[in-house]
């Protein structure tokens, strides 16, 4: 199946821990994104990578560090987790050059709960 897949789907962890979320797309897209959806469903962009190069870095705490080993993968590492980090994190991809908004494909999300 062609898709954007994220793992894990659910993540429950204690404050202060470090965790990673992985994302992979097999759509051949050049650009990948991380979005955060808070408890009120608001979607906000965090990062964007184009072919392994960071192109968007919104005002996100530096405890969040994205890594793109190749253009099909974009991982998100979070250090020293805080209660306020609890949210659903979505990975997305798009075919850069055709207008990223045309082809945004989202993964199913990772629900992170910090206790």
């Amino acid at each position: 199946d062609t898709a954007v897949s994220q793992t894990p789907k659910y993540l429950v962890t204690q404050m202060g821990n470090d965790k990673s979320i992985k994302c992979e797309q097999n759509l051949g897209h050049d650009t990948m994104y991380w979005y955060k959806q808070d408890s009120k469903k608001f979607l906000k962009i965090m990062f964007s990578y184009n072919n392994k190069e960071l192109i968007i870095n919104e005002t996100v705490p530096n405890r969040f560090s994205p890594k793109s080993p190749d253009k099909a993968h974009l991982n998100l590492h979070i250090n020293s987790l805080e209660l306020g980090d609890s949210a659903v994190y979505f990975c997305a991809s798009s075919p850069k050059g055709q207008g990223s908004a045309y082809g945004y494909t989202f993964g199913s999300g990772t629900r992170l709960t910090v206790v």
């Binding site: 954007v4 994104y33 608001f42 979607l43 798009s94 990223s100 908004a101 945004y104």
Partner: protein, 113 residues
């Protein structure tokens, strides 16, 4: 600063009725306006989109109306069905710029049978 304002926050419609969701934007550099549909436990999925050179776009029961001078656009769902019950997000981007999507806060639509 919220760049895309969406209303209403929630909407209840009877089966067969028309659902209308409105959005307004501030940034005149925006030139692409998609709508996304999100079901519980799923990621948002592109539903329909419009460029500012047209005032209306229709795909099946879904229509976007766009008013460039007012900086407003809306989604109309005709003959609403219970299966349309979902959260709908309007969004905007500048295709000539960073191309990042800026989302509205979402509208939870419930279509009663």
């Amino acid at each position: 600063q919220q760049q895309v304002k969406q209303s209403p926050q929630s909407l209840i419609v009877q089966k067969g009725g028309i659902s209308i969701i409105n959005c307004a934007y501030e940034n005149t550099a925006f030139d692409y306006f998609p709508w996304y549909q999100q079901f519980p436990g799923k990621g948002p999925a592109l539903l329909i989109a419009i460029r500012p050179d047209v005032s209306e776009k229709k795909e099946g029961r879904f229509t976007i109306s766009f008013n460039k001078s007012a900086k407003q656009f809306s989604l109309h769902i005709m003959d609403s069905q219970p299966g349309d019950s979902a959260t709908y997000f309007c969004a905007a981007s500048n295709l000539g710029g960073s191309e990042k999507l800026v989302f509205g806060k979402g509208t939870k639509l419930t279509v009663n049978p």
